[in-house]
Symmetry: C2
Subunit: 345 residues, 2 copies
DNA sequence: GCCCGGCCTGACACCGGTGTCAACAGTACG
DNA sequence: CGTACTGTTGACACCGGTGTCAGGCCGGGC
């Protein structure tokens, strides 16, 4: 079987354009010190020969791979997919490819795994998604090894140049206010595992929202789940079997909110007439559930694009470009049919 | 900021081990013609220096990138995620990285886009997912360009060495038989867009299943959807508003099945008492829907692993290894609460 | 008219591996 | 004992770019 057609090289282009390899290289890298006519000749030669530079050769000589890595362990595939598209929206035009590296949050050798990935693949930098992005020691290990990275996270836990933050606190607070506004007073809260920063952020945001209306979240209205359907259902059943039943439940992600809806059905409660349910993520689930779920949407794709831009900036940007300060995006509440006013007492 | 620590190179290893670069290279590539003691010395030196070969240098010299590409345009993120993990399960141990390249099925310049991706990134080969994998002209263009690829598809449409097939016909046939076995006779069928091979395959499978019980699928029981929630809901409403209402509906994927459940709810029909609903994909939706959805599960991860294995085989395998014949996997029916016997007449 | 500095350009080494080919055992064979 | 292998090893060019540095050209200041 024939290999791919013989590709033309920089030398071919140089010959056709009547210049040196180095000058072609300069054109390739948009070096400013190239005469306009020369540039045009080179560009014409490139076009004529259908020239594409070899990333390996470029990488070898310049110690850059023109690839960035995505490091994650996230249970929500839609999130991953959206992030990948958001990254590529910036990477592709800039000539970068995306190499994916899923790994395990709880793994003993997580740090070695990630460092090994970067060292082996020679990606120019990595984007780290939550919950991995919350691991301070991971980030520090990478920093020490001299690797470039940008974290996506739910709160500011890093140098502004290495992080994109979604202000989940504010988003969740808004849901709390919305529920209170509907008239709810007995509101259950299903939290994520406390070991995750995101879980703590969401809880704090919820409390902040309640406080703004003079209410507070009593400890007994909080049950901890594991961010998955089953734990959400269990937590909801626990809340709903209390003598004084909540009229609304906020689950810290959509999977647990789905579990809550199932729990309600099991107890013969109608959503939203008897119980309002809200979630977090605006996952695919949310719109397809019955009833469709009120939830919080983070601009995931935009966050990813911002992260890619930040990362690429650190490669190309000469000095420290201070224009890229702390990047914060604001989630929004998506109101659907799973929430309504509480039943008349 | 310091760049990553100075990496050790093959020359360092050679010096420490007291051999030539070439011998180190041989050890690296598992060449059989290396003395056992020499090999040990080299391995020891590698370990001591914490040596990792540079993929760019390897790639430059050997015209291989040790990366494979994933080319797709699929609306189901869980599918993508599962495929990625299945590919990596094989790629990682073999020393390959995965570069992702989502693209648009309907795009004018799809072929150029994909070829451009391969040429620019220099991936050693690509895996193509449905529905892109159904595009004959894409595969042919790649073959002509001398690129390696493996397709994942729902029917055999290529040289066995370039495809992994899931026998969706058989899977759907089994659902049909299952519904008939429950006692259903008036069964609606929501098909995918006819332009997709997968859609046609599923329909044929369904008809085959019915025929096995002496039944046939009347044209008026078939409505075409677009594989998404809304079109599924519309199609179901159309079926359910007929004077002679179906007692069961098979939707060609889970999103449309979810739409069907919503349609039933809108018409005041209970699932499964008044209407049985079955889908296809076993997406995340399926288990979380209320009621949970009877559906068809393809072993997606395994398919992806097989595809990766096939692809890598074509790089390394010397001659044509005939052992890798046509690879067919069988989907299975997952029975959940959305299906039951039809209501008594 | 001369010198200086800035802008363009090219020669050449080098990045870190692999392919080719030849040299050098050691062994079996005639 | 010479010959022909087979198996192991190294020298060296080369893959296709980039970094360094030097040189030629030009305009402006003295």
């Amino acid at each position: 079987m024939p290999l791919s057609k013989p590709k033309s090289t920089i030398s071919d282009v140089a010959r056709v354009a009547g210049v040196s390899k180095k000058t072609v290289s300069r054109v390739l890298n948009r070096s400013p010190h190239v005469g306009e006519q020369t540039r045009q000749r080179v560009l014409a030669a490139m076009a004529e020969l259908n020239y594409l530079p070899s990333p390996q050769a470029r990488g070898l000589a310049s110690r850059r791979s023109f690839q960035i890595g995505l490091v994650y362990d996230n249970p929500d595939p839609l999130y991953i997919d959206t992030v990948q598209r958001g990254l590529l929206a910036v990477c592709a035009p800039a000539g970068y490819d995306l190499v994916v590296h899923p790994c395990r949050y709880g793994a003993e050798d997580l740090v070695d795994d990630v460092r090994g990935f970067i060292d082996r693949s020679r990606v120019d930098g990595v984007v780290i998604l939550p919950p991995l992005s919350e691991l301070q020691h991971l980030a520090e290990a990478l920093r020490e090894a001299g690797h470039r990275y940008v974290r996506l996270a739910s709160a500011s836990i890093d140098d502004p140049r290495h992080i994109v933050v979604s202000d989940e606190r504010a988003g969740v607070a808004r849901v709390a206010e919305y529920l209170v506004g509907l008239g709810h007073r007995r509101i259950g809260f299903i939290s994520g595992p406390k070991r995750f920063l995101s879980a703590r952020e969401r809880r704090e945001g919820f409390e902040a929202g309640l406080q703004r209306h003079g209410l507070r979240l009593a400890e007994e209205w909080v049950v901890e789940g594991e961010y998955d359907f089953d734990s959400g259902k269990r937590a909801a059943l626990e809340l709903l079997r209390r003598p004084e039943r909540p009229t609304a439940i906020f689950a810290s992600n959509d999977d647990m909110a789905a579990g809550t809806i199932h729990a309600a059905a099991e107890l013969g409660l109608r959503v939203p007439q008897d119980l309002s349910v809200a979630g977090f993520d605006d996952s695919k689930l949310a719109s397809v559930l019955l009833p469709p779920l009120t939830t919080v949407r983070r601009p995931v794709k935009e966050m990813a694009s911002l992260a890619a831009r930040k990362l690429i900036e650190t490669f190309t940007g000469g000095a420290e470009p201070p224009q890229s300060g702390l990047t914060i995006v604001k989630p929004e509440v998506v109101i659907r049919a799973s929430t309504a006013a509480p039943p008349a007492a």
